[in-house]
Amino acid sequence: MRQIITFASIHFVMKAEKVLKKEGIDIRLIPTPRKISSDCGMAIETHYENIERIKTILGNQKCSMDGIYRFDEKGGYSEQKD
């Protein structure tokens, strides 16, 4: 299951990418899908299993996430509130 994380600014995205890659988490920078409304043009894609670890790491880094979206293989998606 694909998970897409959005941020309020490209600077958060870039910082998150750096930090998460350093931690060895499998992530990908992607243009924010059209369907998701976000102020920021890029987002981070990862697997469902990584989400909790990402939340912890980014929380420690004060790199605040804007939204977390779950995409199924068929292209459907839902926002994950926490």
Partner: protein, 214 residues
């Protein structure tokens, strides 16, 4: 502005040319002959289609004349003013055919705040020449995209703001890369154009009839 408009109407028209129903190059040839016969002054060329407007206007501009166009019912009136200094063009008359494509015209992609490599000082001068000349070019581009350092041209304090706003007022669509503004922390400083995302920018590039990358 009103007073300028009034002044325009007081122009003395020395001759009217009826180019309705005629196909290129005829209206252009008639314009050329009339311009060659007269010393200085203003003529009006009436035509009934847009390509004819373009063809006559282009020829007149190349001849150093001033050109103004207005619509009158189904027709267009091209007002051509010859000055003492105008030189009637000797070049071959160009007939631009009816635009073949229903497409999205010319898109200019501006990826920097200077033009070209070598000297940035010169590159900045070239950029300052770009916008006023685009305004006079024919056909005019329909869309401008500003990316990377180019996005800085559209924000508060930019010396290009007036020129870019003028293009926008003339109906040219201006798109500024939102992520670029975000990156430079300039998102709330943008003064002209629409903030655009990657999907929109790529779509504009592929659907243009032609992309000019600066």
């Amino acid at each position: 502005m009103v007073s300028i408009d009034l002044m325009r109407r007081e122009v003395i028209v020395n001759k009217r040319i009826d180019g309705r129903g005629l196909s290129c190059p005829k209206p252009v040839v008639m314009t050329k002959n009339t311009l060659e016969e007269m010393e200085a002054g203003t003529i009006e060329v009436i035509v009934d289609n847009k390509p004819a407007v373009e063809n006559v206007s282009r020829f007149a501009r190349n001849s150093g004349c001033e050109v103004k166009v207005r619509e009158e019912g189904k027709n267009f009136i091209v007002e051509v003013t010859k000055r003492e200094t105008s030189e009637v063009s000797k070049e071959e008359i160009v007939c631009q055919v009816e635009p073949q494509k229903t497409g999205k015209g010319i898109t200019v992609l501006i990826e920097s705040d200077t033009i070209g490599e070598g000297s940035d000082e010169l590159g900045a001068i070239l950029m300052r020449a770009l916008f006023p000349t685009l305004l006079e070019a024919s056909p005019r581009p329909q869309r401008l995209i500003f990316m990377n350092n180019g996005a800085k041209l559209a924000v508060e304090g930019s010396i290009y703001l007036d020129d870019i706003s003028k293009l926008e007022k003339e109906g040219i669509e201006i798109f500024v890369c939102g992520t670029c503004l975000d990156f430079f922390n300039l998102k709330d400083k943008v003064k002209v154009g629409k903030i655009s995302n990657f999907f929109e920018i790529t779509q504009i590039l592929v659907e243009a009839d032609k992309v000019i990358t600066i």
